[in-house]
């Protein structure tokens, strides 16, 4: 800063420019790791911000949305598994998957509506079909999925309760359409599991946006292992051989996709996936996925082990979604994650001779 003869009569300066909401960040970033809280006199060369305030705004989403990321995947995966069971004559697996699909999609939809600023207007989601909006397409996917999953699951409930549902003449119709309904839900299942990855990728939230290439693969893997895990918990081992295979494939896909995603991302934008609470969630998730996968592979035919592995897999998926969700929110709240990767890519383009596409121009 300036030195002038009047400096001695100035009141003491506040702790630093980032004082408003930047204390924790600034400590992590600015000191030399020695615990000193003193502001550096020379700012880091590549990074200045406006009083440490965020450049982009974090999505105003609560944990309900993170929960939906998980539940939507679980529902989509369960419907796919249920359709497989339906086509290969595994009645118990089919029933349990259909019920799981409806239960999780219902809970997820409730979480979504509750998170709206104006929940009473949730139907406005179906006001238009808009391809540029993953949220719009997702709402339609969710609706289409829920219709099929609902019919298929109600048919199962009717069967389980000994045809006691007050359906009257509709019972015949219900059982006539349950098979197509199960397949219809399965057709929308993968879309339900994957659209949320596009929804997150198509934002200006740094960590999500920089992950947009690999996030879809992470999400379908996570959905597969969660649905398979839940089936292994609910269904006897005689019928869950396909679920066990899907679980192992899901774990493999999840580990590979997550690694590739982290490696290809901008290193700064990827930071929230490694450290802090979000990083811890993802590490635990990974450990649980590995444990669940190994358990499934080695002793998946034993009921107890299968159930334990299934629980681990479901938990792994949930934690992964919460971890990715939190990482994004965190990245939006710290200007560093917006500014540094952007400066880097701008410099890279300029170094490559592309000088005509900067938002900042000399004239």
């Amino acid at each position: 800063m300036t030195t002038s003869e009047y400096d001695s009569v100035r009141p003491p300066e506040p702790a630093g420019r980032g004082r408003l909401n930047g204390k924790r960040r600034r400590r992590a970033r600015m000191d030399g790791g020695d615990g000193s809280r003193e502001m550096q006199m020379v700012p880091e060369p590549d990074f200045t911000s406006y009083y440490g305030r965020p450049v982009v705004k974090p999505a105003p989403w609560g944990p309900g949305i993170a929960g939906y990321l998980f539940l939507g995947g679980l529902a989509g995966g369960s419907a796919v598994l249920g359709a497989g069971a339906q086509l290969t004559g595994r009645a118990v697996l089919r029933r349990n998957c259909r019920l799981a699909a409806l239960a999780s999609v219902s809970l997820g939809a409730i979480a979504l509506v509750q998170d709206l600023g104006r929940p009473e207007r949730f139907l406005n989601m179906l006001r238009v079909i808009k391809v540029t909006s993953p949220m719009s397409l997702g709402s339609w996917i969710l609706s289409a999925f829920s219709a099929g999953a609902g019919v298929a699951a109600v048919a199962e409930v009717d069967r389980v309760t000994g045809e006691r549902l007050p359906l009257g003449p509709l019972r015949g119709v219900l059982h006539a359409v349950e098979s197509p309904a199960g397949l219809e839900a399965a057709a929308f299942g993968p879309a339900l599991a994957v659209y949320t990855a596009v929804l997150l990728g198509d934002t200006s939230t740094p960590t999500w946006n920089h992950a947009h290439n690999e996030l879809p693969f992470v999400f379908v893997s996570s959905a597969s292992l969660a649905a398979a895990g839940l089936a292994m918990v609910t269904t006897p081992v005689t019928e869950t051989a396909p679920a066990r295979k899907l679980a192992v494939l899901g774990v493999a896909g999840d580990l590979v996709a997550t690694q590739v995603m982290r490696r290809r991302m901008d290193p700064v934008a990827a930071e929230p996936l490694h450290d802090g609470r979000s990083g811890a969630l993802l590490r635990v998730s990974e450990a649980l996925a590995v444990a669940g996968g190994i358990g499934t592979l080695l002793a998946g035919r034993r009921r107890g082990v299968a159930a334990a592995a299934g629980v681990a897999l479901v938990a792994a998926s949930a934690l992964a979604r919460f971890g990715i969700f939190e990482a994004g929110i965190r990245s939006a709240k710290d200007p560093r994650y917006t500014i540094e990767p952007q400066k880097r890519r701008l410099a890279a383009r300029r170094a490559a001779g592309v000088t005509d596409d900067s938002i900042t121009t000399a004239g």
Binding site: G84, R121, N124, Q342, G363
Partner: protein
């Protein structure tokens, strides 16, 4: 699918039958005096409620903090010493030396156009500023009304729409507060309105002073470029009230032309720290409707240095998602058909 990136006339792209000339601001921060009349006029005209809890933010004279649901003009104050001033001059000089073409100029790497000659032949720079050891950067920020608006693209309800003037407006009676636009905006402009009590520092029931009810809670809000005034051929409230003409309003093409003239003038005075922000239709958002003249790097003002509308990558994301979904189906097929 509409055009997702690159230069275009946004109103025509939105298929308005009667496209009006695109309107926009040119905010010349070099003549802003920080009076905040724009903030006040904006609040009054748009009936925006109080934002925050009347706290001093310890950021120079800026106590409104940032653009938000109820703050559609925000005046930033930055205090800089000699070092930062010299750095700003140097980064501006680099920009000039890059030979960055004017908007619409052809190939990259082309030699600097003749209109940039004055900058290159600037007189001794140190004599220009009257206070070389201190300066105040003051900038009135506003919604950029991007050519490709991230908020508008991702809005699932159609509450956000492109007006015939090429601006972007939220319909508060349609928005259901899903919050996607908040994450979609590369500039952190649009926000979902709360009554303020949810803010971490303000406790429920402890707000200062009597306050009227907050209208349109729970839905997204941002600058409308005074859509209601535009329809009546009026100047937006902030530009109308600005006493120094730092905020200029008019046809977007004119604003860009005025901005270029002004930056050339400043360069001719040796003030190479002057630069334009948003005047390039080849940038990541297709150019902004609100153009700024800045005196330092954009991030100093809290603006992103290289914003890119996320939807520009959406076709690729859909392809990747399709691939991933196919992979999931394949995994299920393998699981059921793979014997045993």
């Amino acid at each position: 699918m509409p055009q997702l990136a690159g230069p275009t006339d946004p109103a025509a792209d939105a298929r308005w039958p009667d496209v009006k000339p695109r309107k926009g601001f040119f905010t010349d921060t070099s003549i802003c005096i920080g009076c905040k009349a724009c903030e006040v006029a904006c609040k009054e005209w748009n009936h925006n409620p109080r934002d925050g809890d009347l706290e001093l933010l310890r950021s120079s004279y800026d106590n409104s903090g940032a653009l938000g649901a109820s703050t559609w003009r925000h005046v930033a104050f930055i205090e800089q010493g000699r070092e930062r001033i010299e750095e700003a001059r140097a980064t501006g000089r680099t920009l000039v030396d890059l030979g960055m073409p004017s908007v619409g100029a052809p190939a990259p790497g082309a030699p600097a156009a003749t209109d940039q000659a004055p900058a290159g032949s600037a007189p001794a720079e140190t004599t220009i500023l009257d206070t070389p050891e201190f300066r105040w950067l003051i900038s009135s920020d506003v919604c950029k009304h991007c050519t490709h608006a991230g908020c508008l693209d991702v809005c699932p309800t159609g509450a956000l729409f492109r007006t015939e003037f090429g601006t972007v407006v939220v319909q508060a009676d349609v928005c259901n507060g899903c919050g996607t636009c908040v994450a979609g905006c590369p500039f952190g402009v649009v926000e979902r309105r709360t009554d303020g009590t949810a803010a971490p520092k303000a406790k429920r029931g402890e707000r200062k002073g009597e306050q009227p009810d907050v209208p349109d809670l729970g839905v997204a809000h941002k600058c409308t470029l005074c859509y209601d005034r535009l329809i009546d051929d009026e100047t937006p409230a902030c530009a109308k009230t600005c006493p120094t003409t730092s905020i200029k309003f008019g046809d977007h093409a004119d604003m860009v032309a005025v901005a270029k003239e002004r930056v050339a003038q400043l360069h001719a005075q040796g003030r190479t720290e002057a630069r334009l922000y948003g005047a390039n239709e080849l940038d990541g958002v297709g150019g902004t409707g609100s153009v700024f003249l800045l005196l330092d790097e954009p991030e100093v003002y809290g603006l992103p240095p290289d914003p890119r509308v996320p939807t520009a990558d959406l076709p690729r994301m859909y392809k990747r998602a399709g691939l991933a979904a196919a992979g999931m189906v394949a995994a299920a097929l393998i699981s059921f058909l793979g014997g045993r």
